[in-house]
Homo-oligomer: 389 residues x 2
């Protein structure tokens, strides 16, 4: 187990009707806020009205910024920074999924910074402060509601880059599983692939003697795997939605990588796909992860065999761990297919033509290799894209 | 799953040599502190010198309060409060195990309070603030290093009572597994019984649909069970010590009871034993928990069967869940015995003579019933003590 520092102060308010507490929670921080959200969904479902009422009842003055899209854009971040500065706004409320929350986080670190907020994403500068961000989560997937990171896409060149900083944990996040009843099946499945990917990125480590976190990750994976089919069969199954929603947070709040080093190659390889083709991040992960696994499992067959046994209940074959490992990868791929996700690029309408370009961009952003479990060169990444065709 | 609020800001600094960071962490809060510790152990091991050097290097003025005993006493808490007030001290550093940390926490809430700090434990008053507490943990057991609670014994009548408050989370805790290499076997085993008890108090709930936290608790229990024998066989096994130490924190930092209602009867029943007989809390728990289980398992046989299957690898017998449940309880009892703990009162030199008195005190402190899994009357508690004889 490696040495580590762990601290996560995000206040989680979880359960039925909890969105009605947003006014009183927000009032601890500000009486003038920017509220960031996506399109019209929260208006259709009535969530917008309930939130506005709660904020109004607490005497909070709200400026709105809507129009956040999946794979959220830098241009909207600039717009938000501008609004906050012009209006002296010192708090951002994000109402939505990971794209909305990431937009809010990027605005948050951008407001007090003199330079271009994109500097933080390219590594030219490090954020030292933020204006506080609170969230009302509507899509369990990204885990951004209790994480220290954000991913933004720069339309100028379609670069999709992540930023991690201790200052970026939201101050509070409100999680009501009922808000996820209206998610379309495909979005539910994509969200779960994202949650599982966050867990697997952490699971596949070369650090030895990490038994507790291994087991905690397996526990969280098994919970997601058993509850996604229930949520798809009955979208208003509160219990299944609640398990998935709490798992999305636990998967990504950094507890589960204490003492270990995650891989994150699959995320980076996927980011290049969704930056160019604008497919759902979760769908991209369902395509990339099995391909990555097939390419790297020989680096530590025992770990992949453990994954197969403990997460997918693959029978022991201690004479042939490789067989176990491959059965685990196959079980993951079958599971993604069973919940309606693509597991090959061609199923998402993507062919080989831009593989070289994607591999180029992917390796540029991290000193020429990507990932920790196996350090991948540009050629490795091309090979993985080809395995995923 | 029940609605819940979860927030835990304790900064965990984990790993080899981390005690040398205590000066710089403490300096964020104060330049004049009270350092609380137990007897001479930390001087013998050299920990005292390393900590004093680190504090001195950061320019921190230290007043010492030593002499904390297991089942820590209220009189020492009063002394600490007095020292802090007289010297204008606004930060407490606890160096030790749960008793030391609990003493520091009680002093912390006592300093800014006008009345008698014992009011907080009897429920006459609620703490609104504390002076900050940091810790250097030497015994993985109580989980106090990242919890919101403390247990103190009032020598005037030997009342042992717990206090829980949001203000009581330590601001930082330093966890170096190497500091536990010198723990005697018996203390290592007692600590593990305490960790396991914290997990089981949370596990045995009547709240349904708590799959994620069920699985996280099982994961943590399995980790402790697999590592205690390793630590006993080789006290300097860093990896085993590290798993146990991190598990002690995860077991009690409140993540694992999100959405559920813990029981805590066994803790309360045990507190009466250790308050009167002054045995180690962990030893008392190893005696009480199996007896409690035998007394209550029929309230939810499926939960006990799941515990047997998932934690103790008891074979399925779906035609007879009760058989599975009893095998699980038996496995727990055998495990406690195997690591050198008493599992009957008589093994700890305790007979029946004060059972009535203990049951009386136990039910007095919680509106006449104790526990949530099954609400226990005084007679129930007498029966459990008798089962434990």
């Amino acid at each position: 187990m490696n040495n580590f520092v762990f601290q996560n102060c995000t206040k989680i308010i979880f359960g039925k009707d909890t969105e009605n507490l947003v006014g009183q929670e927000t009032a601890r921080y500000a009486d003038k806020i920017l509220m960031v959200y996506g399109g019209g969904t929260i208006k259709k479902t009535g969530l917008y009205d309930r939130i506005m009422k709660s904020l109004r009842d607490s005497g909070i003055d709200v400026t709105e910024l809507s129009g956040v899209k999946p794979n959220p854009r830098l241009s909207l971040v600039y717009e938000g920074i501008d609004i906050c500065r012009k209006n002296g706004i010192k708090f951002i409320l994000a109402v939505g999924g990971g794209s909305v929350i990431d937009t809010a986080k990027a605005i948050g670190v951008g407001v007090p910074y003199d330079g271009d907020v994109w500097d933080f994403f390219t590594g030219k500068a490090v954020p030292k402060e933020t204006i506080p961000v609170g969230t009302v989560l509507t899509i369990p997937a990204a885990g951004s509601e209790a994480s220290d990171s954000a991913v933004i896409t720069n339309e100028d060149g379609w670069y999709k880059l992540g930023l991690t900083s201790d200052v970026m944990y939201p101050v509070f996040s409100i999680l009501n599983p009922e808000l996820t009843f209206t998610l379309p099946d495909y979005q539910t499945a994509c969200g779960c692939a994202d949650i599982m990917a966050h867990l697997m990125e952490r699971y596949f480590t070369r650090v030895r003697n990490v038994e507790l976190t291994d087991r905690l990750i397996e526990a969280t994976l098994k919970t997601v795997i058993s509850n996604v089919p229930k949520a798809l069969a009955n979208p208003k199954d509160y219990n299944a939605r609640a398990e998935i929603m709490w798992a999305s947070t636990v998967a990504h709040n950094n507890l589960l990588d204490t003492g270990r080093v995650g891989d994150w190659a699959s995320h980076m390889i996927e980011h290049e796909i969704s930056a160019i083709y604008d497919i759902a991040h979760g769908a991209g992960l369902a395509i990339v992860f099995p391909a990555w696994m097939k390419y790297v499992y020989k680096e530590d067959v025992a770990r992949f065999a453990q994954f197969a046994k403990r997460v997918w209940n693959v029978d022991d074959n201690l004479f042939d761990l490789e067989e176990m490992a491959l059965k685990g990868i196959s079980a993951l791929e079958s599971f993604f297919s069973s919940i309606g996700l693509p597991v090959r690029l061609k199923q998402a309408g993507i062919d080989h033509t831009r593989i070289e370009e994607m591999a180029d961009k992917c390796t540029m952003s991290d000193s020429y290799t990507v990932g920790q479990f196996k350090k991948l060169s540009k050629q490795d990444i091309i090979n993985i894209y080809k395995l995923a065709l």
